[in-house]
Symmetry: C2
Subunit: 237 residues, 2 copies
Amino acid sequence: MKREKALKPAANATSSRGDTEPRRRSDRGAETRAQLIAAALEIFGRLGYEGATTRQIAKAADANLAAIVYHFGSKEALHLAVAEHVAKSILARIGPTLASISTPEATATPEAARAALHSLVGTMVDVLLGSADAERWARFIVREQLQPNAAFDVIYGFMENAMSTALHIATVILDTPEDDEIRLRTLTVLGQVLVFRVAQTLVLRRMKWTAIGDTERAMIKQVILQNLDAILEGTKP
Amino acid sequence: MKREKALKPAANATSSRGDTEPRRRSDRGAETRAQLIAAALEIFGRLGYEGATTRQIAKAADANLAAIVYHFGSKEALHLAVAEHVAKSILARIGPTLASISTPEATATPEAARAALHSLVGTMVDVLLGSADAERWARFIVREQLQPNAAFDVIYGFMENAMSTALHIATVILDTPEDDEIRLRTLTVLGQVLVFRVAQTLVLRRMKWTAIGDTERAMIKQVILQNLDAILEGTKP
DNA sequence: GTCTATAGTCGGATAGAC
DNA sequence: GTCTATCCGACTATAGAC
């Protein structure tokens, strides 16, 4: 928000390069772009948009400072490219699960629906807590929430999708229409997963853990799924 | 992380001013300090430590740039002073509730314990969602989680307190020893509250709300307390 | 496509008048 | 205690050699 002078360049935003010329022999360019995005994801997530500097990012990506402008057009465009990358990556992870529980069969009976919901929540826990990648994604996303940017809109898309699916399944299980109450309840389930990412510093201290590994993740998943069942059971009409 | 040169000054950190001279007639100094802290809370919360600039803060506080160094010693010291202010403010709000449920009577019977837990969670919802101040506190705290600083330690203290109390009450209700499982479950309850602060952009969009006012807060509280009861009921040994 | 060098701007901190 | 003026390091973005 500080240097809003020459925002003229950009031109070639994020993807769709090589549209003027056929794909050439070397993919050095693509590699550099990928490295820049990976480094930017990490650094934007930790320091925020303003706190991150293009020098840091270039250095972490083992690329040249000018490469950022060359490949993305500006610091801001790089930020947006990272958001797109995150959205795509997460969708790639939960997409299969989402698809498998979006079939009519998955919600044919309350039992099947319950299994589908377990599957979705379990996948969310795994995706959010199960990889170093996810750690970076989550940090980046939470930053966007704190300071909603254009990048947030990019990310919102897939969240919308997952939440809608979960909501629909929940209405089947509880046999109720979709109303504010069940919408809120769906959000509280999301919160139970998110807290382990967002308040992780607090979580680690309280649990006297040093990290959330496989064992810890399994415990967390078990507790959340038990809660989910209890909530489904306890709030039946 | 950028300008680690002259970190020499500081000297007079945050409070305890006027120890060299008796409190004088005017409290202009105290007022300026308060305004600076208020402005810094808002701006650090929104932009993060690195993203915030002392010029912005001074301007928002209607104070002079040099006043920051004069009163706090440095940008970093101001940041820490804000953390202390936040911790104190929150404790002032939940302290009474915390005290009232820390008595032996409050956990004498499972019924009383359940009421105490409701009281604590309800207060948390009110504090976190019920005031414009809380919005700022939450933003600031979440930032600290993403990028733990010295300031985080300041804030952790009161969280520890509230969590321990909640945990103890839960063990009474469930009549189980304190173990990892119940610790995790306590954190999932915290998550249900936090999500409405942390992912508020998402919440507002999904609920098609424009803000979380009294009505919305009441709905949220009801849903979370119902969940809490369901969880307590559904996970009994 | 990648690099170095640099232009132009903005940052935190300081000095010293009042 | 508060202010203006200023230093100087670090920032983003650019130009142009390779």
